[in-house]
């Protein structure tokens, strides 16, 4: 268990001013990249890699890890306050977080988000530390057969997130799946649904999908209304009419420390959910081949499924924010494991991190456990310290951050759209993505306007490609009997259980389906 190394590296980190200083500047950078729609952690890593080039291995790796650890915490800010997520996992936070803001509970949502992401980050790091001795057998027991079934399990959540109309959810979800099949056919290498456009060979980027379905529609909607995201008199009246209005103080635009702490207390009250989501997502993050984006959505899906009040989700249920945020942050630790020990990135962000590790001269492999265990523990502690520092920083800045929610539309719309488009362009370097965002964003606006759920589209895009790729490999490796492997059978049972539970809920007299503004 290397307890001596574990604590000596913590001591070294805390007593080396240079490392502490770098972590202190890495955290606000991570929050900035995460909170600016379109930029995100991957672009942050890309932009910072040249700066670590001349650092020594430990310093460079700790700096990048600390920055990347808090990206998703930052990403929750625009998701909650203006309904504009920057990436796949943050879109799950937007579902309930933004709804809470519209109910006048932005401060509580932010507090829940800060608390849940910190708890997720810490529990994920703890999971990473504890699983070091049994890491290899865990990872090696998951093959493409299991990746495929895990992806199918995730796709079953489309039903849960379909809202009022299961049919609408399925149509949008299947449309997302179809979009996931854009690109080169994995079995023949021939272009598919690319309409002769070579830039579509690599498929539809998740970033483009998220910005199209959330950022652009929210900004169009805001432009049409022509006012800030502050709770409107109309909404207040509606809330009063339906008898669900919170006290007037809670509907205020102001984010107070009291609200933030209320949200953090919600995290304590949902401790078992936080624990379950952290472990689930960290474990999924460990398995290379499924990816962190999928993990965060599975945490959200699990939160909705396991709740006694699924009808509240998408309307501003604090547990939705807690589940999604715990998932987003816990996966970072999990996905670091296969990156370090097998050189196989556990998430798309980790793929870039892997490149940075190689540039720093860190050769991922099982030898990390023996020859470079100090680096491994330093990175685990960097995740912990960055998360703790981040939560204190964000709590302190909470009331000022909250002002974003009442920013004038005339300022917000160009800012958000500019960064969203810039992010789309910078990451792939494709101007064509700008057109795609505008076209698909218009579609997203139509979905929003006519109350069609948008979350199933993101799930379809993220999991469709994984499912297809894994199915092809599983069939090639094991033949048609691939689903008879022991873990596969367990996963099949979970899939059947998930569908059965959904159907049972539909028939249960006291259960109401989720509304469709997800």
């Amino acid at each position: 268990m290397h307890l001596d190394v574990a604590f000596s590296t913590l001591f070294d980190l805390l007593t080396t001013p240079r490392l502490l200083f770098l972590m202190v500047i890495a955290v606000p950078m991570g929050v900035f990249f995460g909170s600016t729609p379109g930029l995100g952690g991957k672009l942050g890593l890309v932009l910072l890699i040249p700066f670590v080039y001349n650092m020594d291995q430990l310093t460079g790796a700790v700096f990048l890890c600390a920055m990347h650890a808090v990206v998703h915490t930052g990403g929750s800010i625009p998701s909650i306050l203006i309904g504009v997520p920057g990436d796949g996992p943050a879109a799950a936070t937007a579902l309930d977080g933004f709804a809470m803001t519209r109910k006048g509970q932005a401060g509580r949502a932010l507090g829940a988000s800060f608390g849940a992401s910190t708890a997720g980050g810490l529990l994920g790091a703890m999971f990473l530390g504890l699983s070091l001795p049994i890491l290899e057998p865990i990872i090696l027991n998951f093959s493409p057969a299991e990746f495929f079934l895990l992806a199918i399990l995730g796709i079953t959540f489309i039903a849960t997130l379909s809202g009022d109309s299961f049919i609408k959810g399925m149509i949008v979800g299947l449309f997302g799946l179809m979009c996931a099949f854009i690109g080169l056919d994995p079995s023949t290498g021939s272009p598919r649904f690319t309409f002769g456009q070579i830039w579509l060979w690599d498929g539809l980027s998740v970033i483009v999908a998220v910005l199209s379905m959330f950022a652009v529609p929210e900004m169009i909607s805001l432009g049409v209304k022509g006012r800030s995201f502050d709770v409107s008199a109309e909404t207040k009246a509606k809330l009063h009419d339906t008898g669900t209005a919170p006290p007037e103080t809670a509907v205020s635009r102001k984010v107070t420390y009291a609200q933030i702490f209320e949200g953090m207390w919600d995290v304590v009250e949902h401790k078992w959910l936080v624990l379950r989501c952290s472990l689930l997502v960290a474990a999924i993050g460990v398995i290379p081949g499924l990816g962190g984006d999928a993990a965060a959505w599975m945490a959200y899906g699990h939160t909705v499924q396991s709740s006694k009040h699924p009808e509240r989700f998408g309307k501003g249920e604090v547990a939705g924010v807690i589940g999604a945020e715990t998932g987003s942050c816990a996966k970072e630790a999990g996905s670091l494991l296969p990156t370090l020990f097998f050189g196989v990135p556990g998430s798309s962000g980790m793929a870039i991190m892997l490149g940075a590790f190689l540039m720093l001269g860190i050769q991922p492999g099982p030898a990390m456990l023996t020859d470079h265990i100090n680096i491994v523990w330093s990175l685990i502690w960097a995740l912990v310290i960055a998360n703790i520092f981040c939560v204190f920083m964000l709590i302190a800045a909470g009331p000022w951050i909250g002002k974003l929610g009442s920013t004038k539309a005339s300022f917000l719309i160009p800012y958000v759209l500019l960064f969203a488009l810039l992010g789309c362009f910078l990451f792939g370097g494709l101007w064509q993505n700008l057109l795609l965002v505008m076209v698909m964003g218009s579609l997203g606006y139509l979905f929003k306007r006519h109350d069609w759920p948008r979350a199933p589209f993101i799930i379809g895009v993220i999991l469709g490609k994984i499912a297809e790729d894994s199915l092809q490999k599983a069939l090639a490796l094991f033949g048609a009997n691939f689903f008879l492997r022991p873990i596969s059978l367990i996963l099949i049972a979970l899939i059947i259980g998930s569908i059965g539970f959904y159907l049972w809920r539909q028939r249960h007299p006291n259960k109401v389906s989720v509304p469709s503004h997800a």
């Binding site: 093959s143 490999k473 094991f478």
Partner: protein
């Protein structure tokens, strides 16, 4: 006497002017920005090589600024298309995979370039290809694999990729009974070997070296390189009997010899191209660059643009039956 002096001065002047025209003017890039395109996303091997080369090109082209731009897409095709279509002023150059030779030979959709027309600046390394076999597989050597009656599972990256084509070529040339399982990227193939799902994979020796050092696999066959590149490993050429197989393997060998290429669009003025070639050659000999490359575990084996150009042209001159074999491979 005066005549002799005049002749000597005239001769010296001629020699000096000749030397001056041979030595490229490296100062012509003063105040200019050179865009170095890397045809992959950030973080991978190509990106690492590209950024290293860009920094040292800047050093040897005084007053210039060399910026790296990642143009990923379609397995390096988008990046190569972008370089090919750039203005031929030497201010846009870049790096892409040598495997694009396969794509040009089979006239793959999306290829808008002609590799024989690029302005070749040089190469940074050899990409020795090898067959690596898992220690868990039960196959002790290449002879066991050749004799196998049952289909042997080989991991590979996507259909149409350079690694996939190399695998197909090896299987065809040695008449191996192979089932290629495509779709593995990065080190995923090695993980699949650890899970005992696949037996082997074909790739660059450099990328698989770590796995071998860790004791999980061994190099069963060297597809290219000389005896010094993988000492003690049998050469594929020893096992290839027919002409078709020899030609296919010859193509892989040529590709292996010209790894990590730097090229510019067709028609770069000779003086500009000469300066960039000279700067790259100087960069490749720079002790600091070599030390950094060693730290990053990147091999450096430079050859100038003229050599690269000759090899590219030779690789593109394939008989129809080789092209047909490659087309068959690309068709899955």
């Amino acid at each position: 006497m005066l005549k002799h002096w005049l002749a000597a001065v005239a001769g010296a002047t001629l020699l000096w002017s000749g030397a001056a025209s041979a030595a490229a003017d490296l100062n012509q890039f003063k105040g200019k920005t050179i865009t170095y395109i890397v045809a992959t996303g950030p973080g991978g091997g190509y990106d690492t090589y590209g950024r290293l080369i860009a920094r040292y090109l800047q050093k040897y082209l005084p007053g210039s600024r060399v910026v790296v731009r990642n143009v990923p897409g379609a397995g390096h095709i988008v990046g190569a298309n972008t370089i090919y279509a750039a203005k031929a002023d030497g201010l846009t150059i870049g790096m892409f995979n040598t495997g694009l030779i396969y794509d040009q030979l089979i006239k793959r959709q999306g290829v808008l370039f002609d590799l024989s027309k690029f302005s070749w600046i040089g190469k940074a390394s050899d990409d020795t290809r090898a067959l690596m076999v898992s220690n868990k597989s039960g196959f002790k050597n290449i002879d066991d694999i050749i004799k196998s009656k049952a289909a042997i599972k080989f991991a590979s990256s996507g259909v149409g990729s350079a690694a996939y084509n190399d695998t197909k070529i090896l299987a065809d040339a040695l008449h191996l009974n192979v089932q290629i399982v495509p779709g593995f990227s990065g080190n995923e193939g090695e993980m699949s070997m650890l899970r005992n799902e696949v037996v082997a994979e074909v790739g660059t020796a450099e990328s698989m070296e770590q796995f071998v050092k860790q004791g999980h696999g061994y190099f069963a066959l060297a597809l290219s390189g000389d005896a010094t590149s993988l000492p003690g490993v049998p050469r594929a050429s020893q096992y290839v009997k027919d002409d078709k197989g020899k030609r296919l393997l010859g193509l892989v060998e040529t590709l292996s010899e010209i790894g990590r290429l730097t090229a510019g669009p067709p028609g770069i003025p000779p003086a500009v191209l000469a300066a960039e070639r000279e700067a790259l050659t100087a960069a490749m000999k720079d002790p600091q660059l070599l030390a950094e490359a060693k730290k990053l575990a990147l091999s450096i084996d430079h050859a100038p643009g003229e050599v690269v150009e000759a090899k590219i042209k030779a690789a593109l001159a394939q008989p129809p039956e080789t092209v047909a074999a490659l087309k068959a491979a690309a068709g899955g």
